[in-house]
Symmetry: C2
Subunit: 552 residues, 2 copies
């Protein structure tokens, strides 16, 4: 029987080729279509989700005494799912016990297992999408794409990179050194991949799978058992993930505790118990800068890969497609109610306006253009619900209230019609002047964006760059018709490590980051110290140990 590695070798090779070319490629279809996933897939996925509610989530062989879990959906209603309650010590002990056999399995076996896991996760995309939607508040289309196939592609990308990095060192070499007079010294050398220890993956509330899969699969593939610590409000998507991992690993005769679930109720501080623990060697974190800096300061010798907060800027200098620009930005600020780490927050517009294909537009007209496009986009309640979804956290609702007074309201936030019981809020657009306010400079997580009056395009760019340096940014965008201004913006944003999108119109948005082509974050500014996925994201997750013997 072919090993999993052999079965999935073509998939791996395609993924490696895609990562190297960075052209468009996806392993897992993004359309939530019955034709692709099976005519009953949607109903089956929803039924699977429903079956979890009010029940104990079964993870055979998982450590724990009693249960925890108190997820409440942003769409309304408690999930009442009970997960194993396990102490940090028992989780660490279980994962540590699984380490030797996971190491000994070797890179090919581990990569084969990871690929099989990803395929099975893909088959359960509707189930996972429903769990993501209900725990995060995402609209279904996004929950399916970002929570399912796009997350799986990101996981596959990490496996491909991990494989490339591990395979860089040959398993063996015959070494023959000339020693004078026609003689040689001959040695046989062997190398093996040694894991760093245990991995810890700390998930976030908004993208439990998409932001966790890269670190999770990178650590697993390189030999490190992983403690998966979901956000207490979004446990289910990662619990399903851990369940699938454990099933595949156990089928291969290995200890399923290579993936364990660290569940807790809201307000818990379980994650802290792992930080600085000598067995925890790798930490993948997505979340607030406050906890992120605490982790970085207290991680000891562990390698930390973190994505924290940022303020994503848009510099508006001019456009030859004013309507297209406004529509594009309206979608970007509306999508998942601005709860994406890639959503723009600070839109810099010259105080005396910009030139467009539709004539000169004043600052007011630009702000108004974006506001009206947003109104139009969200005028149909069904579409508004699908685009905006619900608000993940109460704190975000409170923040919208607080921010209303920070500027002149160009477009007010409000609830979405027809979503009774759900926590909803459309984008709040505020106009401010950079000469008198820096309200836009702090991260305001949620559907809050600022149209910021500046002296000139150059002033807007300079302020945007300073913002990225100080507060970080995952994405940046520029609208300009002047080629030299675009070139200058490209240089400036590269220097501070913000990935830049230029003049986007139509169905492609600054928020979107595609596996195998777009790197997500750079690691070069305060928004993140790492990137999905480059060699730096994987190469430090393992070591190489050698043995050499004189040749017989």
């Amino acid at each position: 029987m072919a090993t999993l590695f052999e079965q999935h070798r073509a998939l791996l090779e395609d993924a490696v080729a895609a990562a190297r070319s960075r052209k468009y490629w996806a392993a897992f279809p993004e359309m939530p279509s019955g034709k692709v996933y099976g005519e009953t897939a949607k109903a089956d996925g929803e039924a699977a989700y429903e079956a979890y509610l009010g029940a104990t989530f079964e993870l055979p062989g998982h450590p724990g005494e009693g249960t925890v879990g108190a997820e409440v959906s942003p769409y309304g209603g408690a999930l009442n799912v009970s997960y194993p309650a396990a102490s940090a010590d028992s989780l660490i002990a279980a994962a540590k016990a699984a380490l030797p056999s996971w190491t000994a399995a070797g890179p090919e076996a581990r990569v084969g297992i990871c690929l099989e896991i990803l395929k099975r996760l893909n088959a359960r995309s509707f189930e996972i999408a429903t769990a993501v939607m209900k725990t995060t508040g995402q609209g279904f289309p996004m929950a399916f794409q970002a929570g399912g196939p796009h997350a799986q592609d990101r996981g596959l990308e990490a496996v491909a990179y991990a494989w490339e990095a591990m395979a860089y060192t040959p398993a063996t070499a015959s070494w023959s050194k000339p020693a004078g007079k026609g003689t040689t010294i001959d040695m046989e050398k062997r190398w093996r991949i040694v894991p760093r220890g245990l991995g810890l993956v700390i998930g976030c509330n908004t993208f439990p799978t998409w932001n966790s899969y890269p670190g999770l699969f990178a650590s697993l593939a390189t030999g490190n058992p992983v403690i998966v610590k979901p956000h207490p409000a979004a446990i289910l998507p990662l619990a399903i993930t851990v369940k699938v991992i454990r099933e595949v690993v156990a089928e291969q005769g290995l200890d399923p505790n290579v993936a364990v679930l660290a569940s807790e109720n809201p307000g818990g501080e379980l994650a802290k118990a792992f930080i600085g623990h000598p067995d925890v060697a790798l930490i993948d974190y997505t979340g607030s800068s406050t906890f992120g800096s605490w982790i970085r300061a207290n991680a000891g010798a562990a390698q930390v890969y973190s994505e924290e907060a940022g303020v994503n800027p848009v510099v508006i200098a001019g456009t030859d497609n004013f309507r297209g620009m406004c529509a594009n930005l309206a979608f970007s600020v509306s999508l998942y109610s601005g709860q994406m780490c890639t959503a723009p927050q600070a839109l810099y517009v010259p105080r005396d306006g910009i030139d467009t294909d539709d004539g000169h537009k004043s600052f007011e007209e630009v702000a108004e253009g974006i506001a009206k496009s947003t109104d139009k986009l969200l005028s149909d309640p069904g579409r508004a619900a699908a685009v905006c979804g619900a608000i993940a956290a109460d704190a975000t609702m409170a923040r919208i209230e607080e921010c209303r007074s920070l500027g002149r309201v160009v477009r007010d936030s409000g609830p979405i019609e027809g979503m009774a019981g759900a926590r909803t809020a459309t984008p709040l657009l505020l106009a401010i002047d950079a000469a008198s306010s820096d309200a836009h400079s702090e991260e305001r997580f949620g559907p809050i964006a600022f149209v910021v009056a500046v002296d000139s395009p150059a002033d807007g760019l300079a302020r945007a760059i300073a913002g990225v340096k100080n507060k970080g940014a995952i994405t940046a965008a520029v609208y300009a018709t002047d080629a030299s201004f675009l070139d200058h913006a490209e240089d400036a944003f590269a220097e501070v490590g913000a990935n830049l999108s230029c003049n986007l119109v139509g169905d492609i948005y600054v928020n979107q980051s595609t596996a195998f082509s777009d790197y997500h974050a750079t690691g070069a500014n305060p928004a993140a110290n790492a990137c999905f996925t480059d060699l730096a994201f994987v190469a430090n997750r393992f070591r190489v140990a050698a043995v050499r013997r004189l040749a017989a």
Copy 2:
């Protein structure tokens, strides 16, 4: 005119191929021969060295006010070389000013420049070897090989890895995503390499070039200007290196302050001023564990690559070549008077002896065998001087004194005949019993080794492994005839990340680590958190920034 990159492309390609195959390969000839380096090379190199003495070391355009420098040779006599005295702030400012143009030059130009630098350093191998010999106390053959071509090969290896890691990301890609109904969304994407910031390379007294070149060239190639901070006792070899770097960089029309020299007198604490500085993003350190842990604790967001202290074990379970084993170990403990980070310190021998081709040997006989081989090796004063060299630091002489009482002296340390004025000491061999002493468990830097009586080969292995876990080790060796014991040792040392040599006899030693084939350290135990050179050593020294535009 061909660029430096084009000129040296074949060298780069050979280096990359060698790193990937890990078969024997060297770019730079290790024989200090006039046939290779030119008939006058030796005399020219010595004359160049002499010309530095008592003079000001010229580094045109280098920051500094006044001079500093107080090197005294372990062979006797002050060098009286004066180097620019520059504050940490002025060095950082100068290197920072050089960053933008060094970044903008791009990977190809930087790699081409690094290769040209290495070729020029190679042509000056006799000059550098003399400087290394006189500042470190190495014997000339080692000073030439380790300080010259082997260090250059390690530098080249780092450049090759850096190139591979940077070139992994394409410069451009055309991205075309199917958007339904036969349409596509088309984007042009571009990526560029962004440096992390400034590199800091902290050199050691004993191997100023060999241990510094990997980090130095890895940081330079990836776009980070480097502050080179030599050990105050061994400035000259790195000053020459910095001089050559600056010459080549200036010839290419770039700011030579991409490499600056941080010189100080013994007892200074200049290095500390750079640690935790926000502009210092990469730190390469070789030295004591005490300062190493201080650096790791205070480096802030900087990535630290450090090689610190360890206790390298040898497990002696049996041999089919007793004389060969004793001779091999005698050379390993004698070479550069045990002042190599790869030298063995703890030799575990079963209390009731071992089986050999020469019959059963008692614990006493094994210890005596190594002692007698050492005596024989060093019986000729000329050979003793060439093998042992001189002792770099006074503290090492004091340590030998202190250690004499830690066990039964099997072979005493003593001065080397005919080296008047030099600080010399042959190996001190002590016998102890693990049941009553753990004197071997602390690092005892210098010509000090312990033959440690243990219960059995398995006990010796277990103690060796525990030692690596607790104190670290760069190398490990085992002598055994039992194949299953060897396999077990291989597994055990791999798990703790010590590179293992088995049954070495003849002209290959556990101390030796060959560029392009042997990784130096693993990063997986306390002796080092990084390795010369793997992808992890280079991949985190730069970031990738992207720009994407809709295709026209």
